[in-house]
Symmetry: C2
Subunit: 111 residues, 2 copies
């Protein structure tokens, strides 16, 4: 299995910021232009664009420019990859409890 860690780094990092999470939440409801996306924030446009670049380079958001307006939309693949990671940890954790239960049942039987 290849080192899948760098992309996950970027995705988790991207979602660690509340402004960026809010942008993803907004985009999950449908595409938006940059200034559209910027409206709810008390932040200059360049700051918003920088957040957008983080989101884009993490793969969470895809953008496309037509004329002078850039349209942004979520890319669900990236979301799925972290969902997958988390589910994997939960599975490990649960498997452990199965083994533990089994072990306890066995030692109990031997008592």
């Amino acid at each position: 299995m290849l080192n899948q860690s760098a992309p996950l780094d970027r995705i988790f990092q991207a979602l660690a910021d509340p402004a960026r999470r809010a942008m993803v939440e907004r985009l999950a409801r449908g595409p938006a232009s940059v200034s559209d996306l910027a409206k709810p924030f008390d932040m200059t446009l360049p700051a918003v664009i920088q957040h957008l670049q983080v989101l884009e380079s993490s793969g969470l958001v895809r953008t496309e420019k037509t004329g002078r307006v850039r349209t942004c939309r979520v890319e669900p693949k990236a979301l799925r990859s972290i969902e997958h990671w988390v589910a994997g940890r939960r599975a490990q954790w649960e498997r452990r409890f199965d083994r533990l239960g089994q072990y306890l049942a066995e030692t109990d039987g031997k008592k």
Copy 2:
């Protein structure tokens, strides 16, 4: 709905680092001591402890000291909270496609 964002900040931030994710992966297989946890890393103990503090203050890991050894274990609640957030975004995104499909079906019917 209260501002649930700060805890999520910490959890995503904690998982954004590959070393910390590796620690969570290790702990998902079962509890470990600090030096146990440190072994696979090319990093000094203080660095490991700092990562551990990030994990603990995010709620992803719980630790407990007995004698001179501190035992660390994952806290699945925190994992569940980000699973929940991601699932929520996916749901929004899917709902949008339902609406879109419905809209297209309607306008198609009117054509």
